[in-house]
């Protein structure tokens, strides 16, 4: 339906720069998710696209046309708000009809379009109710329906699921994914929820302090984060980090000294590294293993288990791997490890990430097959 591009877009409130010189292309029919910590500017960026915030400089293009100065209702966008922002004094039908009514669409056509959307979202029985008489999930559907009725070029979602309870959130997330497939629409989705980002997105944009840290498919960000921030932000629980030193760089990887005295070879591009240079090693909790006494792999760390969190299917161990670093290790729920046990840890060299002192990732020699 529509392709959207942001060119050197910036936004400042007085002297405070919220969005700094941002470039982004969103392809037709793509579901693009903006994630980032709170205050990173993701909502502001969405509101700029919607036309609720003025763009200080740069161009916002929809289908190759500059729309900076086009009023929001003419841009052909529809937005779903976090609080749904339904009109409380109107019935569900009038809520959905509002934009069409203001646009001068005839009553007959309005109702025909609403009926179609109501069937799509199973809202038929509620059309004559007020929002107050609906449950949270139904209100959410009305808000989405109100957007769909307008047949917009681009859908904007501002944390649409954050007011729903956990079970409903999962269900609505699945409905949204199916809706995206059925409508074949371009969608931009803001969230701080990783699971939503990973499951829904065709493309994730990680934002921090008003600029883009990385753009890519969910698995690309997971397997090949381009810096330490993205590595720490994507994935739950968070990636473990510790300081290491370069022992010997080579063309097939780099040999590094680990804090516990062990060493290993990491398969990353290491041509520019010098011996003794400090690096940061990152390993995800789910890639670390507790190694039994039989010895099924090289031991890289060992330490005392400080906390055990048993979730049932999975257990998280908090291990004091070095005097400074508390590592989180995700192990099987049936693990017999107890608090204050000493455990040995290991991980496959291909699962490790190395970052230079500036936080930039050293490129891995082999790409992950799912993130090619």
């Amino acid at each position: 339906m529509a392709q959207l591009s942001l060119r050197n877009v910036a936004k400042s409130f007085g002297t405070v720069n919220i969005i700094k010189d941002l470039n982004l292309e969103i392809a037709d029919r793509e579901l693009c998710v903006f994630v980032g910590p709170s205050g990173c500017g993701k909502s502001t960026l969405l509101r700029m696209i919607a036309g609720l915030e003025e763009i200080t400089s740069g161009d916002l293009m929809i289908d190759g046309e500059r729309v900076n100065d086009v009023p929001p209702d003419v841009r052909g966008l529809a937005m779903v708000f976090q609080s749904y922002a339904l009109y409380p004094h109107m019935t569900v039908r009038d809520n959905m009809a509002f934009a069409l009514r203001l646009a001068g669409v005839s009553r007959q056509e309005r109702y025909a379009r609403i009926d179609k959307v109501a069937d799509l979202l199973q809202l038929r029985p509620y059309l004559d109710r007020r929002p107050k008489a609906l449950s949270g999930g139904q209100r959410q559907r009305v808000a989405i329906g109100r957007a769909i009725v307008r047949e917009p070029k681009v859908f904007l979602f501002d944390e649409p699921l954050s007011n729903l309870d956990a079970a409903l959130r999962v269900q609505t997330r699945i409905e949204l994914a199916r809706l995206h497939e059925r409508l074949n629409a371009t969608m931009i989705y803001v969230t701080h929820d990783q699971v939503e980002a990973m499951t829904l997105a065709d493309k994730i944009v990680v934002l921090r302090d008003g600029h883009i840290e990385q753009v890519g498919s969910p698995l690309e960000l997971y397997h090949h984060p381009c810096n330490r921030f993205v590595a720490g932000f994507i994935g739950s629980p968070k990636m473990n980090f510790c300081s290491v030193k370069v022992k010997a760089p080579s063309s097939s990887g780099v040999s590094i000294d680990l804090p516990g005295g062990a060493s290993m070879v990491a398969p990353v591009a290491a041509t520019r590294l010098k011996e003794g240079e400090p690096l940061i090693l990152g390993v995800r909790p789910e890639h670390m293993k507790v190694i039994g006494p039989a010895g099924d792999g090289p031991i890289t760390f060992s330490g005392e288990v400080m906390v055990v969190e048993r979730l049932g299917g999975q257990t998280f161990l908090y291990v004091q791997a070095t005097p400074e670093d508390l590592f989180i290790i995700a192990v099987d729920g049936d693990s017999l490890v107890k608090v204050h046990d000493r455990v040995a840890l290991g991980f496959a060299p291909k699962e490790c990430h190395l970052f230079d002192h500036g936080g930039t990732a050293l490129e891995q020699l082999a790409r992950h097959p799912l993130a090619a």
Binding site: L52, P72, M79, Q82, Y87, P88, A99
Partner: protein, 332 residues
């Protein structure tokens, strides 16, 4: 009925007599409406709710006496031949006080005047209140001071504001308005002689617009900004935003303003006494002022009490009407 708590029965009792004061009215609307609105509060949600009747009884009982004694006295006096100037006139009057009043043209004129005054002031305060609420919701330089100024007339005593309007603004010789029209060569309007009712309406509206503005301004602050943004994205601008989003949002606070103002406007007195004294003729004699005329100028306590009872009935007719339309709205 067995599960009805004591307090509920008390409230029922309290609602029946409705009226307490002798020579003033208006508050009756409040008591009866509060009783109706409060009704649901005391109603137990389920049978496990504890019985609180005995605990409430002292307070409710005191209020009941507070109300029922003056009411009974008013009713009693209204059936007496009782004039303070002549102690020899006494005894039971039957319905003569009422008969005399109801055949007295001034009563009907004063009822008409009361309705005109209350109706016009209500419409003016709602229109200007909404206007100010919307205007002062926009951010502009000096907004807080402007808001304060809009509220300010409310702090002026009715007597003082009536004097200011009478002597400084509307006076045909010394008044500001006369000076302006004379400077423009337009001649002079003698407000209280040529348009007495309109003058009173202007003064009372000036006093009550701040109240409406205050309530509606605070109501504007509770208007969901995301809702306005959603409407903005849907294409609502200016007038359509006002009509479809702002006004429906203000509907409930407007109901509150109408209800509260009606109670107080029925009792408007000082403004009339200070400016026109009910005249010229009886052009600005309201029911409240008529009671004053009867009681404290003609010293006819019996007739004034009868007028008071009629005022109670009128206030309750208005109150019942309001509650039917407004309270349902509030409960919605």
């Amino acid at each position: 009925m067995a599960t009805t708590p004591f307090c509920l029965r008390l409230l029922n009792l309290q609602r029946r007599p409705r009226k307490r004061a002798n020579f003033e009215f208006g508050h009756s609307a409040m008591t009866s409406s509060l009783a109706k609105v409060g009704f649901g509060v005391f109603k137990p949600k389920d049978s496990r709710a504890p019985r609180t009747g005995a605990l409430l009884a002292p307070a409710v009982g005191l209020l009941l006496i507070w109300m029922i004694v003056p009411l009974t006295m008013t009713l009693w006096f209204s059936f007496q031949r009782y004039n303070l100037q002549n102690p020899l006139i006494s005894g039971f009057a039957g319905f003569n006080n009422y008969k005399f009043l109801l055949l007295y043209k001034t009563l009907w004129i004063s009822i008409g005047n009361t309705l005109v005054l209350v109706g016009s002031v209500l419409s003016l305060t709602i229109v200007f209140g909404v206007l100010f609420a919307v205007v002062f919701d926009e951010a502009f330089f000096g907004r807080n001071i402007a808001r304060l100024l809009v509220i300010a007339p409310f702090f002026v005593m009715p007597t003082v504001s009536a004097l200011i309007w009478k002597n400084l603004l509307m006076h045909p010789v010394n008044g500001l308005f006369a000076w302006i029209t004379r400077s423009l060569g337009l001649g002079v309007v003698d407000w209280f002689a040529q348009a007495p009712m309109i003058s009173i309406i202007i003064i009372v509206a000036w006093q009550w617009i701040p109240f409406a503005s205050l309530i509606l301004m605070t109501a504007m602050q509770s208007l969901d900004r995301e809702q306005m943004e959603a409407a903005y994205l849907d294409g609502a601008r200016g007038l359509s935003m006002f009509w479809f989003i702002t006004l429906p949002h203000l509907f409930r606070p407007i109901s509150v303003v109408v209800m509260i103002e009606t109670i107080f406007l029925l009792a408007v007195f000082a403004e009339i006494l200070v400016t026109t004294s009910g005249g010229p003729g009886n052009a600005t004699t309201t029911l409240t002022y008529l009671i004053y005329l009867k009681a404290l100028l003609q010293w006819d306590v019996g007739g004034a009490s009868a007028a008071g009872v009629i005022a109670i009935i009128l206030a309750n007719v208005v109150a019942a009407f309001l509650i039917r339309t407004v309270a349902r709205n509030l409960a919605d």
